[in-house]
């Protein structure tokens, strides 16, 4: 393991000022499940590791009817997976959380770490993007709220500036007749990264698609919203022909790479199939809701 100096702030203000002061030489630790592995592999060699776990108020989730869900950045993936309130109101997030790593990893890993690592194949972004989530960021100049689709800039890169920390994820209340799904394609049923991940959340009104959001994982430098596919569906009945065209549109927006998990061509084809399937399943769930 890389030798580092350890910082353990006990307030958010102290954390921000330490990250600001040591910018470029500090790595922020939330759950540590990615960070410690990279420190052991010496992929990164920071002078400081700043542990956020003793900062009060960053952990835990709260739901208020009409206002939506607030998920503290240090909330574990296991908490999201098992939370009755998440299962009831945002089941896609619970489903996706249950597909990340193992129980042991999920008890440590946090939503903030999953987002801030900005891995293109990360498990939590598609569902959060499909629910229209926002990131509340706290930094040296105060705080701001950024739509999650502007949070990711590239692999490992986010919109966080010097001294910024992700404090909270805000998920708006869903409209009536809204339902969604997350489909993860991976060769193994557990302990594997997504080859392709697709989340879809659909709101129905009078049998038509009033609104929908689709989000793709592992098929572009960042998690991606295929807007052209969403635009095709909005305001229309979700018949099979339209779902097929939406899959095609999503495929055209995907910019996957070829790597050990799959070729770019295969990933593109799977985006088409899984987008079509995700929209259909979301539609069926919304009809039943």
């Amino acid at each position: 393991m890389v030798r580092f100096e350890y910082l353990e702030p006990t307030s958010l203000g102290e954390a921000v000022s330490l990250v600001d002061r040591h910018w470029g030489q500090v790595r922020v630790m939330a759950g540590g499940t990615d960070l410690l592995v990279r420190l052991k592999q010496r992929v990164i060699r920071p002078q400081y590791v700043l542990n956020l776990k003793r900062v009060p108020g960053l952990d835990g989730l709260t739901y208020a009817k009409g206002q939506g869900l607030r998920i503290g950045a240090l909330t574990t993936i296991r908490t999201i997976e098992t939370s009755p309130v998440v299962k009831e109101h945002y089941p896609v997030l619970a489903e996706a959380a249950g597909m990340l790593g193992s129980v042991q990893v999920r008890n440590l890993a946090t939503v903030g770490g999953n987002l801030c690592n900005a891995s293109p194949s990360a498990e939590m972004p598609p569902g959060l993007l499909a629910y229209g989530a926002q990131a509340r960021i706290v930094g040296p100049k105060g705080e701001r709220t950024v739509p999650l689709d502007q949070f990711f800039l590239g692999p490992g890169q986010t919109c966080l500036l010097q001294g910024d920390l992700l404090a909270e994820v805000l998920v708006p209340e869903s409209a009536p007749k809204t339902a969604g799904v997350y489909i993860k394609l991976s060769p193994r049923a557990a302990m594997d990264c997504a080859v392709v991940g697709v989340a879809a959340v659909v709101t129905l009104e009078d049998g038509k698609c009033k609104d929908c959001r689709i989000a793709l994982g592992a098929v572009a430098p960042t998690p991606l919203r295929p807007r052209s596919a969403e635009d095709l569906l909005r305001g229309k009945p979700l018949d099979p022909g339209l779902r097929e065209r939406a899959g095609q549109a999503a495929m055209e927006e995907a910019k996957p790479i070829t790597d050990v998990r799959g070729s770019a061509e295969y990933r593109k084809e799977m985006v088409k199939v899984l987008t079509r399937r995700a929209v259909q399943q979301a539609f069926q769930r919304a009809m039943a809701s």
């Binding site: 350890y6 540590g32 052991k40 592999q41 590791v49 542990n51 440590l108």
Partner: protein, 159 residues
Amino acid sequence: MKQLISLKVNGTTHEVAVEPYWTLLNVIRDHLGLTGTKRGCDSGDCGACTVIMNGKPVNSCLVLAVDARDRDILTIEGLAQDGKLHPLQEAFIEKGGIQCGYCTPGMIMMAKALLDENPRPTEAQVRQAIAGNLCRCTGYVKIVEAILAASEAMTPAKP
């Protein structure tokens, strides 16, 4: 710089001076001498180092020792009571859930965490729970049987 921490393991509090970059696994094995907890991949993939921290199973290779202070840690050595093995340990022996033994402590700690939360899991739930524990002998069938047998022994089905 070393920091003096108190670490509560199996009900006993230890004062240990730790470097910030030491993992809980290092300290449990190399400083407390509790070598039941195994080091496998050292990167959170194999589950051999599973311990229960504040009631939750975690990979001890992914926890900094300094961050484990003031938390309640249970390792495989803490399961037997008064010289009597835990029903999970008995069941692993009885059912042949042990081959080389390297994954066993992690498997048993994960199984204990499962049964604490869900005393009567289905086979599918057992398999999901141990998804993060690799058995290099591939003896999963007997391991699953052992966990189900322990569940039965600890919480008999209502007639």
